[in-house]
Subunit: 476 residues, 2 copies
């Protein structure tokens, strides 16, 4: 008999019809009720066993974690919260899970423990829900841009320049570490390395995406990016996925409109396509909040927060205006900020959270930052002090998107590269984009895992990617 997925069965299974389901045993109660999950949905299907007429050895092998195949008939269920169940007619054990050894028993495991079992944790409610949400958000991103006529562009992972100066990079090499090729003078001889030069893992696909914008018009990347920073936080990974749209003929206003539309679209998309998973994560979030001290609790539940973002306009103000707001705040006047507030500072997390969570209580887009705290490629404003940057700040997350209009003036760009020590020789091609048919263009970068954190309400970025990479850890 053809297997029916549990998601389909729960939605459409007709009373009286014969079905086959396959999946993993979540629980087996009273030698009678098997809760089976196959990963297609967070919901289990209950199979009811006629234990009096079932071989005892078979019954013993129906344990948490075992893979089984059940043929049976769909009956109306008397159980709470389930429309149907399966009256099992035959059960086959596909793979045992010795209860003495299987690590995931039907009890609450800590997320820390589950990280050590990353090969099994997507069999839990929480992690499977997060991974399904991750899928739908990824698909939503592709759908959003495809429907708008953007081209998906694969920018290179291995690059010869840490072009953005965005942080520490990982070296990529085939040289023998124990005895690398050296020149006669004893220096490392990278002409003998695989690419005949020094290479590293990309920190951003933006500069290459600009090539796409200056030819195909509107493009986006969605690929892995890397930072070799020794950050052991709940917000940083050494390997994470970024989405970087880049659009010809967009100014900063167009850029802001696009990012706001995109974020609302994605949150709506998740609410529409992951209702069951988000309902579960909403409950989980509520329980987690209860265990926190009153002052740290979120004012809104997870789903409420998502709806709130979708239904409200993002607040848009300049960096300079934001500094004024901070300076006029009670927090500042009562000297409650840990870090000094003055024009020119890189805003700290406490400042961003104040703006988002206290002052405006919604997502905020800050624009026109001081040029000295932003990257060389951002468009210089006429005031000579600021650049056409934009950061999107989200409640609980902080910066979720960073973007800008790009500098298109060849001379201004070169001048900024000189001032900021960005090597021109590696970026000859990037400079040539300003020499041959330059045009206004803008773009931004969205950290995919930070978006997932926001949508799922999870607290640690290591729990929203299948196999997290961070200092000292590249297991699996």
């Amino acid at each position: 008999m053809r297997r029916t997925k549990i998601k389909e069965l729960i939605a459409q299974g007709e009373i009286g019809s014969k079905v086959n389901v396959k999946g993993w045993v979540r629980t087996f109660r009273n030698n009678q009720f098997i809760a089976i999950n196959d990963g297609s949905t967070i919901n289990n299907i209950q199979a009811v066993v006629d234990f009096q007429n079932t071989d005892e050895n078979l019954l013993k092998r129906i344990t948490t974690g075992a893979a089984i195949s059940v043929d049976g008939e769909i009956h109306e269920s008397m159980g709470k919260g389930q429309r149907i169940e399966i009256k099992a007619e035959s059960i086959e054990i596909l793979g045992d899970a010795d209860p003495e050894e299987y690590p995931l028993q039907p009890k609450k495991h800590s997320l820390e423990f589950l990280r050590e079992k990353a090969h099994l944790r997507p069999r839990t409610n929480t992690i499977s829900a997060v991974m399904r949400v991750r899928h739908h958000l990824a698909y939503g991103i592709h759908k959003f841009f495809n429907d708008k006529g953007f081209a998906y562009m694969h920018t290179p992972v291995i690059t010869a320049s840490d072009a953005e100066g965005a942080g520490e990079t990982f070296r990529v090499t085939t040289m023998d570490l124990d005895n690398p090729a050296r020149t006669e003078e004893g220096k490392l001889d990278f002409s003998k390395d695989f690419f005949a030069k020094e290479t590293n893992l990309t920190v951003s696909g933006q500069l290459e995406a600009e090539v796409g914008a200056m030819s195909l018009g509107e493009v986006y990347t969605f690929g892995p990016t890397f930072r070799a920073e020794n950050s052991n936080t709940t917000r940083h990974l050494a390997e994470f996925w970024m989405i970087e749209p880049e659009m010809a003929f967009y100014n900063l206003k167009d850029n802001m409109d696009l990012v706001e539309e995109m974020l609302k679209y994605l949150i709506n998309y998740a609410m529409e396509h992951c209702a069951d998973d988000l309902a579960f994560l909403d409950q989980r979030y509520a329980q987690e909040q209860k265990s926190k001290p009153q002052a740290e609790r979120s004012e809104l539940g997870l789903l409420d927060r998502l709806k709130f973002v979708v239904e409200n306009e993002f607040e848009r103000l300049t960096y300079s205006e934001a500094i004024d707001v901070l300076l006029n705040s009670k927090m500042h006047k009562k000297k409650k900020f840990k870090y000094t507030v003055e024009w020119g500072i890189d805003l700290q997390s406490e400042h961003e959270r104040y703006l988002v969570e206290k002052e405006y209580k919604k997502p905020v887009i800050l624009t026109d930052y001081p040029k000295d705290i932003k990257a060389f490629y951002m468009k210089q404003n006429e005031d000579g002090k600021t650049v056409g940057a934009m950061d999107v700040l989200f409640p609980g997350i902080g910066e979720i998107v960073g973007g800008s209009e790009r500098e298109t003036d060849y001379d201004k760009l070169v001048q900024r590269m000189v001032e900021m020590d960005v090597p021109q020789e590696d970026l000859w091609w990037y400079l040539e984009l300003r020499k041959f048919g330059t045009a206004p263009h803008s773009g931004f970068g969205l950290g995919f895992e930070r978006l997932i954190l926001f949508v799922t309400g999870m607290g640690n970025i290591r729990d929203v990617i299948p196999f997290p990479r961070f200092p000292q850890s590249a297991e699996f």
Copy 2:
């Protein structure tokens, strides 16, 4: 005025309406006819200039490669092959392109030359068409799997084991190459490296995808993979993108059905969504064929070949049957094969091409290969000699997909790992999938660039990825 994309304009622009278009000048004829392209389509829009009433300095700046913005009115076009044109009312130069310096003049450039100009080449008809097809194929892949309920899974790019033994790998490190950390005995001390162990770039996400299959049921990866092989061919890249679906409860037959359905879906999807680009590439392919010696010419045109694949069942036979077919062929009997044909050999390109292009004249799925030429994780057949592998062979491309049913028996898997020198300690988690709730499962890997080669008819894999990586080359 809001900019209208040229694709939209050509499809829906109404005679008499006022529009703004922005894009790059492809040609400017007779001081009068500007062909503008904005990357949204392979088609240009013609803007007609009233040169007698236009500033001469402006006219001089309308050169190939310049970015311009044109306001004007849509008129019916007298020109061939175009429904409409724009009567320009005002023209703004957004970015000049000095004709003395701009490398892409309106003449035929070789693909080799364009590779050196990878930052400009998507402004050409051929490369822009290929990149749009690449986008639509990528989107088609996501849509195909999403619609079937598969979850997209991001498997790690940085891994601690070359698990598959699939080839040479790139090392990833933050150690100082000039003076790496060493133990007291003078050995390299990887405990001081970023991940506290040796790490490399992944050659395949399959083993991690199996984790997904054994929990979420049906998953697929779509990410970059790497081979540090010194291959300077038209079919190999050091960095390329792979799609690796992995499905619980699928046997080899299910696997074959899925891959055939997927490939047909994708080719149909491209024909439906890239009609203009494929029509151009079809012509390009036909011209290229003409320049070849008669014997090397393809019997079918590009579009004919795509239709042929979609409309015919793939031929399915076992490796052993294929060896018999080869042994009984005239090619063999006349000793025209360069390499020996006998049971046990790894089929050479000439053998695969004979089967696909001469014997069956359609895609072929070969199954049940000798275990000694296949990977350790493939399901061992009962004959003790073969494994449940499948390779999909395409005309002109050779192997486009490799896959198998996976070994689920713990002991058989361990035995094969021992025989093939695969380290068990790195793969403890992979082995545990067979210990806890194992289930039949299968999967395959599709090389994305090889699919693009097939669909676009391009001859060199370096021309179907924006920035190719190969030995001695990591430019851009």
